[in-house]
Symmetry: C2
Subunit: 148 residues, 2 copies
Amino acid sequence: MKSSGESKVIPCSDYTFPGIERKEYKEGSGNFKAVCRYGLLGSGEGEEALNFHTRYFEIEPDGYSSLEYHRHPHTVVVIRGQGHVMLNDEEIPIDVHDVVYVAPDTIHQFRADRGDYLGFICVVDRYRDRPVTLTDEELKGLKANEHK
Amino acid sequence: MKSSGESKVIPCSDYTFPGIERKEYKEGSGNFKAVCRYGLLGSGEGEEALNFHTRYFEIEPDGYSSLEYHRHPHTVVVIRGQGHVMLNDEEIPIDVHDVVYVAPDTIHQFRADRGDYLGFICVVDRYRDRPVTLTDEELKGLKANEHK
């Protein structure tokens, strides 16, 4: 990692960031599969000026992120592979360099369901609410209620 | 562009975003060359919940962005090609998927000076100060003063 004052370059090597710890997506188990994360910028020392966090998430083929919603929005840029994003009732294919806006309270999930990895940069507010996760059963329940 | 409520996917096609206007980097002329920009997310209708703006900048081979500084920080992710970033006195090579943190008041410039395009996502606060641009002569003057 090369730097000047607090400014710096975080090198990437084949979709890994050698200076940054590769972490589990979330602690414990839950409604997700085969996802890892790198906290790239925003939470480290010397990065206090950033009002947003930049993370890289990578989902292995056949994996998926939590089905969840929250008040804070997401900005996502796909940098590896392809898959789908669920945005409420819509299942939309995404490919490398596509940009996704997840608006507040949108139920969403990222899926590496097209035979490839799905890797994406995701930017969020530094101060944000906790996600509410849903099981598939809960999602069905929500939908059933909507149609009553 | 496919959407659900305010959420949406902005498709990318060969480093262009067909639903988004390709703009000049800055109005008028100045200390930059062969740079274009796409305002991807944050300033459009329905994107008011975003506290940050996501832009894509692309510099043609031999082009460069303004030499400038400002109080707000930048988070940059290279998604095309290679080049260099100037961070104060450091000239650091950058390649695809490298991540750059430009801390407050760092004098910086992006250069496509390695025979390739340099394209990058750049995220900034929605509310931010205006950049102060420097000519090469002014930079030399700053450096001369530092060494007095």
